[in-house]
Amino acid sequence: MVGVVRRLHKLKALLDLKCGPGAAIFPSDVTRIHLEFAYGLAGHLGPRKFWRTNLPRLKFWNPAIPMVINRTKDEAGPAILSVYFREPGSQLQELQTPSSSFHGFAKAPQPAEGERVLTIDMKNLKSDKILEELLTKSGAVPVRPSAQDAADMAELRDLEQIGEVDRERVKKKTDAEKREKRLIAQAQSEAAAIRAAL
């Protein structure tokens, strides 16, 4: 197994799952979230990036809310984000939510009785715009990083800077070594050619 310190540095990157754009808590009446978008780039790049970067943070802060993704192969198809809310005063039965699918099998479920849906058209939107729209329309409250988390993040930034300096230094050294090796190999091959010609 990899050493503890190196693994710890990786784990610090868990902060990325915790803090940053998307760290927000939904109001308690949000029951589930469904995303549908396609493989491919035409208009579906933003939704994919939203899923990769922002959705994990939303999931971390709202672990109980199912967040289901349906990916289709139809690039011309829609890219829709649906947020389901419980109507005030209604008691919901057990909700039937499909599991995420990469083959288009998890269609957005019909809202159950006492549930309403809010849809956001994500097509051709950038990920930060999608997030902004979702947060404002659903009334989610952003989470501020705690003092400890902020300190950890600062530490990580410092570490990154030190790493940058080190990387440059090491690159210089390895480049010089490679150059020397190349020159020696060249000289040797030339010498061999001369010897062969004699």
Binding site: V4, V5, R32, W51, P56, M67, S100
Partner: protein, 304 residues
């Protein structure tokens, strides 16, 4: 007179090109010459006195055990906390394809026996076990094995298929009656590298085909490699309680396994790390409950 003598001497030196020092003829190879005869040459950097001495190449130290680390700086997580992070990291992925993996680091010697066994988890992770059975052809055993769901049954026909490279199974067991036939069939060279060769130590040569097959169907194999036992312990859709049961079962089996080994090669469990297919690894501290009081275990059981 003296002058002529001097002159002659100088002439002789000119005409006869004998070297000033007598040397050993070139007929004798150098390595046969006794060390007394070879001229002792000394350089400034040579053995005896100081100067620029070349550093001897340090021999890399070899260790008898796998390296184990001091775990005090390691942040350790309860199961539910780790699951919360992992479910966030795996959000939106199909829950049946994403697996929870457990890596158990063992304090152990590099040589000696390894931990290796099969375990039937309380909640099986995968169900695509295909079993081949070696038993006398056309016997009652063969029909029984087929009824139990074996995909390949037989003796010589099965060996022929294996030699042709047609291996339709991913588990192979052998009845004790066919043990001799298996030995003479010379298929170990093909089966061995795939880990399919039946072996009484692993319980795959057996007189009770039925119970062995039943064990195998729900059973997953684990094996210690470079001091770590890795195994899939759950699907992403599992609830915390299901995952905890699986992990407990695996850990107790491992402990049994360690106790059965002889005492010359002591082993001990060092660290337990939970990860998922695409997620980071979390060192577990052995507790279950989430530390954040707003999160309940049942929150981590929702649809992914």
């Amino acid at each position: 007179m003296a002058s002529t003598n001097h002159c002659l001497a100088s002439l002789a030196r000119l005409s006869l090109s004998t070297p000033a020092r007598p040397t050993v003829g070139p007929i004798i190879p150098k390595f046969l010459v006794p060390s007394v005869a070879t001229p002792q040459v000394r350089h400034a950097s040579g053995g005896g006195g100081g100067g620029m001495r070349k550093k001897p190449v340090k021999k890399k130290k070899t260790y008898k055990t796998y390296r184990s680390y001091d775990l005090t700086p390691m942040e350790q997580f309860t199961l539910c906390d780790a699951m919360r992070y992992l479910r966030a990291a795996e959000v939106g992925r199909p829950p049946t394809t994403v697996k929870y993996d457990l890596a158990v680091k063992v304090k152990t010697h590099k040589s000696g026996p390894v931990l290796r066994n099969a375990i039937r988890l309380p909640f099986p992770v995968k169900t695509d076990t295909r079993i081949g059975v070696i038993c006398p052809e056309g016997s009652a055993l063969a029909t029984e094995a087929q009824q139990l769901g074996a995909v390949a049954v037989g003796e010589e026909t099965l060996f022929e298929a294996i030699r042709r490279g047609e291996i339709a199974f991913n588990k192979l067991i052998c009845h004790t009656d066919s043990q001799e036939a298996l030995k003479q069939a010379q298929v170990a060279r093909i089966l061995g590298p795939k880990g399919l060769m039946p072996n009484p130590k692993r319980g795959t040569i057996t007189s009770d085909i039925k119970s062995t097959m039943q064990d195998l169907i729900g059973a997953d194999e684990y094996r210690e490699r470079t001091g770590v036992v890795r195994m899939a312990v759950g699907q992403l859709g599992f609830t915390p309680q299901m995952l905890a049961d699986n992990i407990k079962a695996l850990m107790s089996k491992l402990k049994d396994n360690i106790n059965q080994l002889d005492d010359n090669m002591p082993k001990a469990i060092d660290e337990v790390v939970l990860s998922t297919t695409n997620g980071p690894g979390f060192s577990l501290n052995g507790n279950f409950a989430p530390t954040d009081d707003k999160v309940k275990p049942e929150h981590l059981a929702t649809v992914m």
